[in-house]
Symmetry: C2
Subunit: 198 residues, 2 copies
């Protein structure tokens, strides 16, 4: 592309960008769902939490499944005074092989989530792997939807995990699906490594 | 699902998981590409950097485009001694309307990337929005591929941005595509908000 063509394209894109921005004037707490079978759903949520921490917001995190697992992200986020991090899950559900225990754990985690969702001073919440809890019906979907609907209007919530139920994505303001186009576990026998998988 | 069926399914999944893990024994620096038009590509990369920071790894970040923009993620990551954060870009390319300046900026950013890619003490690198730089041919693709191929074998690199070129995804160990299924900018006139968009 020559310099003139580049300038014309840039001007056109810039005008489109500013037009879009000028129409977008609402501020509201967003419900964001990160789903799909690819990698980075939780990392993207924690990356956004990092932004919120940087803005001095009060941040809440509930881990519904991976709470018992090593998590360097948790170690770092917990260092900040304005982060309330509840790591509760017992690990992967197919590890525990005990539905009653899974349900009890999910209830404990959900109680923390309800506390955060009813506290207007908490501006940014991550409900990590809640989609999976809903998929296995460890918690009643209607209870979750009701709490999300009733939350403070300025509160952002990010729900992560595979298999987001349709009722949740219907309620959401933003839904991102991560698809894995290539994965080293499948391709090359590379094991889970620090800084990448945990 | 009753408790027995749950137990059988859990056992089957657990066995599959352990079989997969036992075959995966390699440790190597991964090249990860986060692309697609959805949200969370950079946040997922920064979330992974947070993990790496938590593991005490030396982390390098080069921002090729958004360097001049406010970034709460940057503010937080820069607080850590083991993070080398180079925020170099001038903002969106369609804002600058000057291809020569964009190329010069990209070259400055790439020089920092080359420095990090040749330093074996740096274990985790994010090249934020490099895909966009390649798409607009601000830097020669072959130079980038050569530097990635020649990097220390244990070094993880995450490249983000829309429009990852095929030559890069071919070289990558892991490719994640984020698709936006729903976005509040389009739907409801909600503006960019702190903690979500920046």
């Amino acid at each position: 592309m020559d310099a003139d063509a580049h300038k014309r394209m840039s001007e056109k894109r810039n005008s489109g960008y500013e037009k879009k921005q000028s129409k977008a004037t609402l501020e509201k707490g967003l419900l964001i769902v990160n789903t799909g079978t690819g990698k980075g759903k939780s990392s993207a949520a924690f990356g956004m939490s990092l932004r919120a921490v940087g803005h001095g917001m009060k941040v809440g995190v509930v881990q519904f499944i991976k709470g018992a697992m090593q998590s360097a992200e948790r170690d770092v986020l917990q260092r900040f005074d304005n982060v309330d991090f509840q790591a509760i899950g017992d690990g992967f559900t197919w590890k525990t092989q005990d539905r009653e225990r899974d349900v009890a754990t999910a209830e404990r985690a959900w109680a923390e989530a309800e506390r955060l969702l009813s506290d207007a001073s908490v501006q940014h919440i991550v409900l990590d792997e809640l989609n999976v809890i809903l998929k296995y019906e460890y918690i009643d979907q209607e209870r979750v939807l009701a709490a999300l609907r009733a939350r403070p209007s300025s509160q952002h919530v990010i729900v992560t995990g595979r298999h987001a139920p349709e009722a949740l994505t219907d309620l959401a303001d933003m839904v991102n699906e991560v698809r894995s186009l290539k994965h080293p576990f499948k391709l090359q026998g590379v094991k889970a490594q620090a800084g990448i998988e945990f």
